[in-house]
């Protein structure tokens, strides 16, 4: 059965959740899960792919328990994973500020912020473990911001009415990652973790129906290497770079997750991609990435555009009465702190009305003049100094004197590989953590929640759930020279050779840029049926051209960065098409997914709970054939779906 030829209807997925009230489910589950005897843990080997917050914390924690861990990363050192770029902070329901926060409130905010497209039980567990994360991170020696009395400082962060965000200047991700990295390196020293940097995972190996290993390319010498183990933990981040320009690092990519999809793992909600409102605007075709300005800036920066179209006075000559503080005007309760999707869409809207600023007219002002007057320049400098420095380095402008110019950019992907409550995919033995999975943020992620989720998954979920899987599974002895590995290695070599042998006329970067433009224009901040159908056609045509006309030089047996890119871009074409199909089939607006056909008379997003309260878990079939749409129906027992109103 096909619908428009884009998809096949599949089955409904039943997820087994632990018994009891939502506040007791995780505790009940921890007790009922099987436990691996301490003496037996050293008999198991776990492969962890990725060393960001989720990967490094998982690898360290599993090694602390006694498992043997093989930990892979694409960079030269695990400390460079892109979690390091997160600026603003990490949420935890500590209620240190006595302002009414609680586990329940964090749970509620996250479910509501995700626009009722996340799994309640997972979100509750996330809120519960948030408090343990902060305890652990302080114990690791992470220098969080403190008050003069010596206690931890908090700030409020986009979309939250309480101050529950812990931070370390504007480099919270860096400090948390270095904390996880330090715990990881401690385990490297004990010999429990074998570190394999400069490796790119290119395939998942399944033996007897369960995940038993991976095949990687050694990025230094091009060797294709097989690694076997008893379980595979994927923590390879999101797929924002499908858009070409994003705030992701240059090497962040979707290949590991996509190859798992092609081996049978479901890919859930690929169209849920978050566009962050406050980034430094695009300035020319040469641009290779976009840089985020932490949304913590929205606590003190006021966002505005000129009231009239085509205003050409410099910002400081535009008087108050000619300025439109459009977020404060439209959303008096939340003002500049509206959730990311709402902020982004409104910024796009005023720029579409030709009231945007900057050379390209695709930017709005974020102005600190009032805050500097109220609090003093020193206070602003203390809070955001490094962000102002970063802004000046990139744009050459001093934001203490003139307002910053900002515009939305792709930042985070809520979609990812489908996982159950134990964070295991539908392929037994393949666990997926952090941004690479889909589970906790629904259709929209709240600020300062990505770091929380990565660390919750790695420090406090996987150490329990993997034991349950290992203790309950019977393992054949499988080594890296098993036929499944050899077959996979051969397919990878053929794939690589095919890319090198085309010797066409267009570079990988040119193709990627074109693909990104299609996805940004038609599968970006707002989507409609016509545009999505065009996008699917354009992506297919471009992909066909890619395999005839791409130019990759050099050879396979050496460090060859552009060959790595070429493989990733090949996967982006397929992923981009699935994103468009997912966006097309979901004829509702929810969270970051705004379908123009589904909006209120005031132009706000209109959710359709009757038809779309489910997770779309896509199943790969075969080359050229539509994927199967499996649905996990979501039930909201504790937070009743309501309209997200931020007015």
């Amino acid at each position: 059965m096909t619908k428009n030829g884009f998809l096949k209807e599949g089955n409904s997925i039943k997820v087994t959740l632990p018994e009891g009230h939502i506040s007791e489910k995780w505790d009940n589950h921890k007790f009922s899960m099987k436990v691996v005897n301490p003496a037996n843990k050293r008999k198991y080997t776990v492969i962890v792919v990725g060393t960001g917050l989720a990967g490094a914390s998982a690898a360290a924690s599993l090694a602390e328990l006694g498992y043997n861990v093989k930990n892979f990363c694409i960079q030269d050192s695990p400390r460079r994973a892109h979690s390091i770029g997160a600026q603003g902070g990490i949420n935890a329901a500590k209620n240190y500020q006595n302002d009414g926060d609680s586990i329940w409130r964090l749970f509620y905010d996250t479910v509501k912020g995700g626009d009722f497209r996340a799994r309640e039980a997972n979100v509750y567990r996330l809120a519960q473990t948030s408090v343990n994360i902060i305890d652990h991170c302080v114990a690791q020696g992470i220098p969080f911001a403190r008050e003069y009395g010596g206690l931890l400082d908090n700030r409020s962060f986009g979309g939250a009415l309480v101050s529950r965000t812990f931070y370390a200047r504007g480099q919270t991700g860096q400090q948390l990652l270095l904390g996880a990295y330090s715990s990881l390196m401690r385990q490297v020293d004990t010999g429990k973790v074998e570190l394999l940097p400069r490796r790119e995972m290119l395939d998942l190996v399944i033996h007897d129906g369960i995940a038993r290993g991976i095949v990687v390319r050694n990025l230094i010498n091009g060797a294709i290497e097989s690694h076997s183990g008893d379980a595979v933990v994927l923590a390879t981040g999101g797929y924002g770079n499908v858009f070409y320009l994003s705030t992701n690092a240059i090497n962040s990519n979707a290949t590991a997750a996509w190859r798992c999809f092609k081996k049978g793992a479901y890919f859930a909600n690929p169209c849920f991609t978050q566009i962050h409102p406050t980034c430094i605007p695009f300035s020319g075709e040469y641009q290779s990435k976009l840089t985020l300005m932490s949304e913590s800036l929205r606590n003190d920066g006021r966002i505005w555009v000129p009231k009239k179209k085509g205003e050409n006075r410099p910002s400081n000559e535009i008087p108050e009465e000619d300025r439109d503080y459009f977020l404060e005007r439209k959303y008096p309760t939340f003002g500049n702190l509206v959730p990311r999707d709402v902020g982004s869409r409104n910024i796009k809207e005023v720029c579409d009305e030709e009231r945007g600023v900057g050379d390209m007219g695709r930017a709005v002002y974020m102005d600190f003049a009032d805050a500097i007057q109220r609090l003093g320049k020193d206070v602003i400098e203390d809070k955001y100094g490094n962000l102002f420095d970063l802004y000046e380095k990139i744009t050459g402008e001093d934001a203490y004197q003139v307002p910053m110019r900002i515009y939305p950019a792709v930042h985070y992907t809520m979609g990812g590989l489908w996982v159950d409550y134990d964070l295991m995919s539908n392929v037994p033995g393949l666990f997926v953590l952090g941004e690479a999975n889909f589970s906790d943020h629904g259709a929209n992620r709240l600020g300062a929640s990505a770091l929380m989720q990565g660390l919750a998954d790695g420090y406090f979920v996987i150490p329990y759930t993997i034991g349950n899987y290992l203790a309950g599974t019977k393992f054949d002895k499988v080594t890296a020279d098993a036929p499944e590995f050899k077959d996979s290695e051969q397919l990878i070599r053929d794939f690589t050779q095919r890319l090198l042998s085309i010797k066409g006329k267009k570079t990988v970067r040119e193709f990627h840029r074109e693909l990104g433009q299609i996805v940004w224009d038609k599968v970006g901040m707002s989507r409609n049926e016509k545009g999505l159908k065009e996008a699917i056609e354009q992506i297919r045509d471009l992909r066909e051209d890619y395999w005839k006309n791409v130019l990759v030089t050099g050879d396979a047996g050496t460090l060859n960065k552009y060959l790595e890119f070429a493989g990733r871009v090949a996967d982006y074409f397929e992923l981009a098409e699935l994103m468009a199909i997912d966006a097309l089939h979901r004829n509702e607006s929810c969270g970051a997914h705004f379908r123009e056909e589904s909006q209120t008379s005031e132009g706000e997003a209109l959710r359709n709970d009757t038809d779309y309260t489910y997770v779309a878990a896509w199943e790969y079939t075969s080359e050229g054939n539509p994927s199967i749409l499996n649905k996990e129906n979501l039930e909201f027992e504790y937070v009743k779906p309501s309209e997200r109103v931020y007015k």
Partner: protein
Amino acid sequence: MANMTLNLKIWRQENSSTPGKLVPYTVADINPDMSFLEMLDVLNEQIIKKSEQPVEYDNDCREEICGMCSLVVNGIPHGNQPKTASCMLRMRHFKDGDTVTIEPFRAKAFPVIKDLVVDRGAFDRIMAKGGYISVNAGGAPDANALPIAKELADMAMDSAECIGCGACVAACPNASAALFVGAKISQFTYLPQGQPERKMRTERMVVQMDEEGFGSCSNHAECEAACPKGISILNIAKMRREFARVLFR
């Protein structure tokens, strides 16, 4: 500002066992708002179109936090802009017609892998010897159980900002890693959590640093000048005091 044409001299080296050399290239149409790495991207597009092998260089976040980029620009690690990593260096700091020499970070402990890519695994091995507080997930007391003076937390944070790029080593006439190691030792020494392992950490990290083939610090302070995060050489003084405590315990 108008677009520029630059004459580049770039270090090309096939692998760690073959000798390298500087190779001249010309790039045109360089926009002053471009980053230095975007300029190299433009060059690589040109090279690929001639069916030649592009220049390999390490980079990832391109926002000065991952520490992966590692270029020596006109003889200075990360170029001549203060507190700026290669990825954040902008072309507006160059002039039309400039000759720009680009080389890898050079140190015995950072062997070249290819072109501008070096192996900085030595830093990870030093970290493995003590760049941590031994705490397993699950056992920590409440985060606010132990107040820490704001000044101490801020000083720890100043040290913790190190991005591990290795510019300090590349800038040092002795190729010393004292700033990198000193910053990590200082961070933990300022904090109460770091006290139990204070001596062992210092001793093991310093010994590993020497074993990796880094030179000794002789107070040139080139490291601080090259550091994209402005990590202070006071961290080295701190490390020395800590090491003295180890020797005279």
